[in-house]
Symmetry: C2
Subunit: 303 residues, 2 copies
Amino acid sequence: MQILECVPNFSEGRDPGFREELEVVLGRFPVKILDLSMDPDHNRADCTFIGSPEAVEECAAALAARAVELIDMRLHAGNHPRMGAVDVVPFVPIRGLTTADAVAIAHRFGKSFAERHGIPVFYYEDACTSEGRRNLADVRRGEYEGMAAKLQESVWTVDAGPQAFNERSGVTAVGARMPLIAFNVYLGTGDLAVAKAIAAAVRHSSGGLRGVKAMGIDVAERGLVQVSMNLVDYRRTPIHRAVELVRIEAARYGVPIKECELVGLVPLEAVSDAFGFYLQVPGLSAERVIEYHLLPGDEEATV
Amino acid sequence: MQILECVPNFSEGRDPGFREELEVVLGRFPVKILDLSMDPDHNRADCTFIGSPEAVEECAAALAARAVELIDMRLHAGNHPRMGAVDVVPFVPIRGLTTADAVAIAHRFGKSFAERHGIPVFYYEDACTSEGRRNLADVRRGEYEGMAAKLQESVWTVDAGPQAFNERSGVTAVGARMPLIAFNVYLGTGDLAVAKAIAAAVRHSSGGLRGVKAMGIDVAERGLVQVSMNLVDYRRTPIHRAVELVRIEAARYGVPIKECELVGLVPLEAVSDAFGFYLQVPGLSAERVIEYHLLPGDEEATV
């Protein structure tokens, strides 16, 4: 059995009617919605669904088409980097699929979407066509407002669609990647400088752990600050290593970890890895979890 | 979808031919084998399999019938308490089944097994007919050698089968219970007295945590001792609490935890609970694990 995940982000997070429109489209396909959240501050909708590769690809195309109809980027403002109505469409292999499978799906989806709607598309992460496009932040740098100029730079030849800027819909990034773990660590302080210093210590870009992105954020309504992290390769840099490094760096300021927050979902393997680490069980794998043996498509399964 | 587990223990752990016989029987039913291990020291075979309630019940009956044919308790010796050829047959509800369902299956299996083979049967754990039979250790006290006398005590009227001792096959305990977590903590010492003192501190029978059984064991081949634990209700007493209490009690002897060992399998909920504890994620549930949503019989699932 093959299971693919798709996590499209759309640049509309305030209109409840938009959420309903997405739900109507999702309801037309045999997919399962894992998360659908609207963030008014970011003015951004975040949708996570899984299913067979065919159903997920078709559903993603239908969602993207509806978003293109409904969103006018000329009117968009929000606190999250963005460059298009359909801002990013990452495909994630969950079961019975390789990264190469997900890349092939991303490329087919991207080409079809770009041609159907006349929107410039860049491929990113594992679907990237050059290393300079692997990191979404590089692709999106300049945001919607800077895209018209960016598309005139020779290094930013589109991967699919027109080389011309689409004023109404902007630019779309289509990618393939491993499941990403989004994890926020709340610190026992309101001092944003501490969160920023810790984030700088643990993130890869400034010398920290490979595969870790981190930033310090002020969470004013709780009077706390957080280190907001993305782990892009949880097999090489597991959650426990990132969190315990935050704990060590926080200790120099006399600051404890108040609590942590998992954003979205996490793969079983990441959970069983952390279990094995904290409980000191050498070589523990997801196969030691009873439910692992109930999953569809397990070769040995006869139930 | 309903999934039942059965974990029968048979009093033969040395003859490789016996293992093969079990495998032949298991192969005749649509069940999935999670574990099949022979322990020569205990002279005991331990088998774990899952499947539909019907398949598991039928397979358990066929395995038990074969074990009754092959094992003669008059010749049995081994380092584990035992009272019968088919020593214990616990049924464990895994998915879509209640404890009451598992109890009904245990009672039906026990009656049928007892009558077919003329073997006295006691029901234990959630299947028990009186509180004095809930604990397997109480039912099995006296072991095979003491059962003829035990069956003459009015308090030990059998739950099924003849009241007379079966010399060849002994006595069988049939039960229903929650998934049990068997967990061994290796200490950084060879001092058995330390392991025994820690076991006494954490186990319920001597004042410790509810639902925890523990004993100190010498693991001579590693030059270490271990606290061997069973957690019989991991929802009320989760793994992390038992292990961290061992760690605290060990500290007074200046002894660290070297490593831990999980025996058999563990429910997803127990793994996600430990993950939430160590990573300080309040209210984390198994639903935050991607694979949870791929399990069969999930009402919402459309994939």
